[in-house]
Structures are given as structure tokens and as C-alpha cells.
Symmetry: C2
Subunit: 459 residues, 2 copies
């Protein structure tokens, strides 16, 4: 067989043992916090029926969904369609629904909605679920953007209580603090406040234009935002009205007071203020770890989707886009015929969190996932001598390897170094005679002679 | 939007929280044992280049690989191919390589081989890796056969030592014992013995016919095997020669002695005996838990692949096909141009193990993955009262939920029951006045009044 120079498809990645240990550190930490807050794991299939996915992410999204070609003779289906359908012309668009019935999931949200509707009779509501699985997007790959990547979502459906919003703030705080982050902001806004602002300037139908503009405050400043609002059809007067909201400063109480006065004539706006206040009141009963909660009314994120709270998380330690986000949506399952089920959820950006922890050197040196001891025999006799010790150490729960006989000690020590194994036990002729084994600390290079019971005590 | 009755593609499954807890119990147990023996986790992308996968599993295998359709205008590529290529006719077969460049992995072995070749300069050999990821096959779905299922593999490449074979026996023993199995057989054979048998009856070129026949001994008995061997061109004399091997009985030592005498004229056969003896000698130094090792020369499994040891694991507690298997192969990476790298590996059949544990009721009742305490407030006042308690319990590492105010206690207790939450704390008016909270044991139905410090001590 001709030899093929192997590669992976662009935008996809292999994960080495060292990378997996780091990724597991992130996922295990987040999962343990989800569980502490009562969220339960589900998994859904990688492939969904195309009808489940198509049309849920807009035309652009549809193009980015990876489609799976039907098995067997897909072409005869296409030909028979052409014969039966007057005016049918072959094209990618016309062929796609005929030759492909399944597609890879694009996110975890639509499959979750499908899951809730399909299993509604088995589910106890409120249903608190989390899901950590890969998703696939046929996006142009670039730095930090992949065609296969893990999403890490928690949602609760069937509970309108704002306690859920407060708990998501706590989940972000606890998980990111546990990962070692020292300074991060959990920004919170409410879609109803954005609706209220659009309402008081009589531009309710232009809420998207408005929020797209003010969302850029960070990047383009007030002047830039004003210019963009003008271009998008807002008047100077509108901008004067909005300005105090955009530049909102002070404590949360002060911000809410300002908002209430500006939004005095908007029921929906005042409702948004009330919801935010309730969330902040809940949070007063809890001690946060390293996160800071901030009311940020410029926060919009996927506006058409959210109906209440909107979350976004950013680290203040390194330059990086948001490492988490989410919000409340009132009709997630409506697309599958189950109406009026309210939900709220958050997501962790695992790949970005990975980059942040790497840059801040926050990954633990060794983990319980690594080998702790390597036994290095000089020869086959040493190997035989080592077998009972190998089992004793493992019985104590110590991850232990025995290097098979036949390799030089130098090679065995290199192996230990490359695998970052902290302790090696060397077994040569002397050691077998005296029962005093050479124990080498691979971190500081020291070594000592110890008996097997002494070794077990030490480890 | 029209409502769609949602479903999943045939042969795929959703996993509910209860199922996930059980699946995690299996995967976490196996992973922890892999790690204890020095195996490190890797992950490879779900999709591989078609050139990586196609041709590796035979013609039938190729058909079962799920292909991903190229994004964008795949049809114009097909048309341009037709224009440029004389005699090109549209068909599923001719179109496939043009409109699809990527496919979903079919197993973990070929991607692992690709990984080893691609990363050979970063890898320290011997390379001990494990991998737990889904694979996809366009097989006809039936009971116990899915189109998406997890494989759970460990392999070591670059080490010819038979210590690895012995350690895989120990890994099976420890993992399956940890999962609660009380009686299972780890069967072991060696391809060289099968080659030797074929050699001594002068049918070396018919080794596949021979092993396919004797592999059926369990099902069709000696008479059936003899009949099949005759049909496949073996003589009565051949069968007389093979019979003592097929009916091999006694201890491992006795079996090996019989084999040695029958295979006295076959170098390869004797080499197989020697290898098996070495593995059994290694195992004498270890105490096995609940597994029994058995030499079984009828064991063949994917013969063309394996070159040395062959493993298969069966439970003796319930009727079920093999729950694990593997073996040694001498040229895994040759297909990608890296020659002569020996490897040996095993696989756990997670779906079958799931069914076995379910049938034997071996899944743990509650796990650390479930909520341990539900706090049930009568009203908003009780909810506010509960907030500090909620945080205290979580700070102690106890998975705790607070049911949001507004639901009747009956509904809250149903929620606890459905989620199998063992303890609920009820907070009503009396409780807030006295500080004595009602703690209900949901398993036996008893309840008592306790203060917060008492609750924390109790839990």
C-alpha cells in the first residue's frame, strides 16, 4: 500500500497526553461545580436529523453545518428526483436535501431543546442539565477558531425564578476561582432594559441597530457609538437621551436608580430593572470568591435569542475575548412545538479558558492522571524482582509503571523525564541482594536507598 | 414555524442523567485503571481525511464509513470533473471522492496509527495511550448495535515485551472487578499457535478457513467443526491431527505441553507456546482479583490483524458476547509509512458492560454526581432564610440545591424523589422561628428537627 503522509482535516486537532491532562483539569473542575449546584449531565448524538438543525441558525448558520451524505446509492435518489420533478435542475442546493438527511450538531442548545421536547414526559421540571460535548462548524479556521470544539453548557428549563440567574453567577465565580483565576468580571444585563431604552426613544423596531452600536462602546468609545447611531437612523435627540444610560457609572444601586429614572415611562424597562435588582439582592446573601459582578447595559450578545438576563464573563488578567456567556430565553422549545417553557443557561468557553490558564501558568504541575512511580530494572532478574513491588504500589492506589527489561537505565530515566514521572525506583544486583532499593527524586535529582516498606510509607 | 415532531437519527441515542451517571461510572472506573498502569489519554478529531480511513477496513468497511459532504458548491466540482474527464459518468461511487473529503472515524485504531506517525518525533516510546471516544458506523441498527457508540481502547506501541500482555490481563481483572463483576474469564491465545497448527497439517495458506471453523467450537461442537473443516478442503487425516488441539484440556501447563508435542515440527508454533508461557509466568507473580485467565486456542478474533497474543473477555454471570478483546499486531503504522513498530492493545465493550451491570444490578445507588441535599422553602421568606445555608453546605463540598420559592412542598418532594435526592431540608415558619429545621430522609421516610450546625455535622 502506498504510504500516505498523514494529517488531520483543517480546523481539527489532536490532543496529546499533556494537553488532555490540562483539558481534563478544566472540564472536571467545571463539571464538579455544575454537579454541586444540582445540574445533571446528559449527552445527545453527534448527528441529528437535518430537519432538527436546518433553519435554526439563519442562512449563514445553515451553510456552516456539516452534512453527512446518505449511505448507499445516494445518486439514484437524485436521478429519480430529477425524473419525477419537472424543472428540477442539479445544483448543490437542490441536491443537498436529497443526498443528505443527517448533519453534525452545530451547538448544544438546539439538540437540548429537541431533547426536552422528545423526553418531556420523563423529565422532572425544573430540569437542570449540563452537557460537555464537541460541536462542529464549517467555519474558516483561524487562530482560536476551530471546526471541532467542545462546548460546555448548563441550562435550567421550566423555572422562572431569578434565583437561577444568581446561581449561574455563583457557578461562574466558583468554577473560575477553582481554576485559579484571580480577577474576572461577570457582567450582567437584561434584555428588557435594552427594549426599554429603545422604547423611550421611540425606536422599538430598531432595538437591534441600537444594541449593535452601543455594544461597541468598549472598542470605539462614545463618539464612535454616537456616529454609528446617527448612521443607523437615530437622531441627535435620541442620542442625548441614551447617553446617560450608555455612560452609566457608580454602584449597582446608583446605576439602577439612573436607569429607573430614564426608563420611567417604559413598563418593560422598569421590569428589567426589577429583575436585575432581584438578582443582585440574591447575590447579597452569598460571598463571592474571585469574581466581580457588574451591571453592564452595553452587553447585548445574540439579542434576538435572549428575553431576560444576559451574562458575559471576562478575565481581567490577560487580553482575551469573553470566556463565558449566556442568558434567559422564553421560548427555546417552541421550534419543536413545546410552547412557553422558560429557560436560562450559561456556557464556558473552554478553548479560551485553556489559553488563559496557559498564559497565567495556572495548570497544576502533576495531576492524579499521571504516573507517579517508574520502576527501572537493570535486567530480566530485576524485572522479576520488581513484579510484587509493582502490584503492592498499585494496590495502594499509586499509579506505577515497570519499564520492561532490556533497556539501558539512561533510556528508562529519559522515559521518566519525558512523562514527568516524579519518582523512579532503580533495581540492580546490589539492590536485590540488600533489599535496599535506589529511589530517585526526578524533580530535584536526589536519591536514597530504601526498603520496600519504607518506599510505601514515603509515597 | 411549523412544529416538527422531534426524533434522533436511527441507531443513535440520547443519554439521560440516570444513564449518564451509569456510563460515567463505567468510563471513570476503566480510565482510572488505565492511568494506574501508566496509560495516558489522547483524543483525535471526530472527522479524519477520507484518505486516512478509506481502504483500511475492507470494501464492506468502506461502505459503513459516514462521509461528510464538502461545504459550499460541491456540485460545481462534480460538473467540472465530468467536463474534464472523458467517459466520466455520474454515480454514487464516482461522485463520492469528488463531493466528500472527510469522514467520521470508524474506530480508534486507525486514527491512533495516524496519530503515532504524525507525532512520532514528539512521542516517547514505548507509548502507552488510552482513548475513550465515540465512533460511527453506518451499520443496520439492531439490538445492541448502534451507529454511534463509544470505544474504550488502550494500546502500547514500541515495546515487544510480553510484560505488556500480562499487564493487560491485570487491567481487565482490576477494572472489571472494580465494576463489581464476580466471575469472568480472560481468554488468551497466540496467533503463532494458530499458524503452527496450520503449518503442521500443511495448510498454512488456509489458516483463515481453519480458524473460522474452530472458532465456532462453542456454538457447533466438534462434529460441526469437523464438518466445516471438510467442506473447507481439510482431509480426515488433517482433522485427526487437529482434534487433540481443539479439545485441549487440563491446566495451562498441560495444555502447553500438549501443544508443544503437536507443534514440535513448527518453529512458529513453538514460538507461540513460548510467548504464552512467558505471559503466564509473569502472571504467577501477581494476585488476580475476580478474573480467571484461560488459554483458549479456539480464539481467533480478526486474525489477519493480530500477530501474537489474542485476548477476549467474557462474563460467566450472564449470557452475553465478549465484553473485551485485543491482541498484538506488528505493523499497525505501516499503512502510514512507519514500519516495524510493534503494538499490543485491548478494548472494553462499554455498551455490553452496561447491559451486564444493569442485569446484575451492580450500578451504585447514588454517586458523587448526584444532588445530596434539596432545601425546600415554604415561601419567599423561607427561600431568603435558606440562602446562607445553601452556601454553607456547598462550601463543605455537599452537592446542594434550593428549590425556588413558589412551589408547594409536595411538588418539591416529588422533585427530590425523581432526582433520587436522599436528604431534604424543609424550611417553614416554625423552622425559621426556632432555628430547628426539618430534615427528611427520603430513603426511609423518617424526619427530625436539627439546627444548621447539627445538619452539617450529620451530612
Amino acid at each position: 500500500m502506498a504510504s500516505i503522509k498523514p494529517s488531520v482535516p483543517k480546523g481539527t486537532r489532536d490532543f496529546s497526553p499533556a494537553e488532555m491532562a490540562k483539558r481534563n483539569f478544566i472540564f472536571d473542575t467545571i463539571k464538579s461545580v455544575f454537579r454541586k449546584y444540582g445540574y445533571q449531565q446528559i449527552e445527545t448524538p453527534s448527528m441529528e436529523n437535518s430537519s432538527t438543525l436546518m433553519g435554526k441558525y439563519g442562512d449563514e448558520g445553515d451553510k456552516l453545518i456539516f452534512k453527512i451524505i446518505n449511505s448507499g446509492d445516494f445518486w439514484s435518489d437524485a436521478e429519480s428526483k430529477k425524473q419525477k420533478t419537472e424543472g428540477f435542475e442539479f445544483s448543490a442546493k437542490s441536491l443537498l436535501p436529497i443526498i443528505s438527511e443527517k448533519a453534525l450538531r452545530y451547538d448544544l442548545t438546539v439538540p437540548f431543546a429537541r431533547y426536552v421536547v422528545m423526553h418531556q414526559n420523563e423529565i422532572t421540571f425544573p430540569f437542570k442539565r449540563f452537557q460537555v460535548q464537541p460541536v462542529w462548524r464549517a467555519d474558516r479556521p483561524q487562530k482560536g477558531r476551530y471546526r471541532e470544539f467542545y462546548q460546555c453548557d448548563a441550562d435550567v428549563v421550566g423555572s422562572p425564578s431569578l434565583l437561577n440567574e444568581a446561581e449561574f453567577v455563583l457557578i461562574y465565580d466558583e468554577a473560575l476561582s477553582k481554576l485559579g483565576l484571580k480577577d474576572f468580571s461577570i457582567k450582567i444585563n437584561n434584555r428588557k432594559i435594552l427594549s426599554g431604552i429603545a422604547e423611550v426613544v421611540n425606536k422599538a423596531d430598531q432595538i437591534v441597530d441600537m444594541t449593535v452600536a452601543i455594544d461597541k462602546l468598549d472598542k470605539i468609545g462614545l463618539e464612535g457609538v454616537s456616529k454609528e447611531l446617527l448612521e443607523r437612523g437615530f437622531t441627535e435627540e435620541n442620542i442625548e437621551q441614551i447617553k446617560p444610560i450608555i455612560l452609566l457609572e457608580g454602584t449597582t444601586e446608583e446605576k439602577l436608580a439612573s436607569l429607573r429614572s430614564v426608563l420611567a415611562n417604559s413598563d418593560v424597562g422598569l421590569k428589567g430593572c426589577e429583575e436585575l435588582e432581584t438578582v443582585f439582592n440574591y447575590l447579597k446573601s452569598f460571598t463571592m470568591q474571585n469574581g466581580k459582578v457588574e451591571l453592564d447595559i452595553t452587553l447585548a450578545r445574540g439579542l434576538n435569542y435572549y428575553t431576560g438576563a444576559i451574562f458575559e464573563v471576562k478575565t481581567n488578567e490577560v487580553q482575551m475575548g469573553s470566556i463565558g456567556g449566556g442568558g434567559r430565553y422564553d421560548d427555546l422549545t417552541g421550534m419543536f412545538g413545546l410552547k412557553d417553557l422558560t429557560g436560562v443557561g450559561i456556557s464556558f468557553g473552554a478553548d479560551r479558558i485553556y489559553d488563559v490558564l496557559e498564559e497565567l501558568k495556572l495548570f497544576p504541575e502533576a495531576t492524579s492522571q499521571s504516573t507517579q512511580v517508574l520502576i527501572c530494572p537493570f535486567d530480566a532478574e530485576g524485572e522479576a524482582y520488581a513484579l510484587p513491588l509493582l502490584q503492592q504500589l498499585r494496590n495502594k492506589g499509586i499509579n506505577t509503571e515497570l519499564y520492561p527489561a532490556g533497556a539501558k537505565i539512561k533510556k528508562q530515566l529519559d522515559y521518566a523525564n519525558n512523562k514527568a514521572i516524579p519518582t523512579v525506583i532503580i533495581i540492580g544486583g546490589d539492590e536485590m541482594v540488600t533489599g535496599q532499593l535506589t529511589v530517585k527524586d526526578m524533580v530535584n535529582g536526589t536519591q536514597q536507598k530504601l526498603t520496600v516498606p519504607q518506599i510505601i510509607t514515603k509515597l
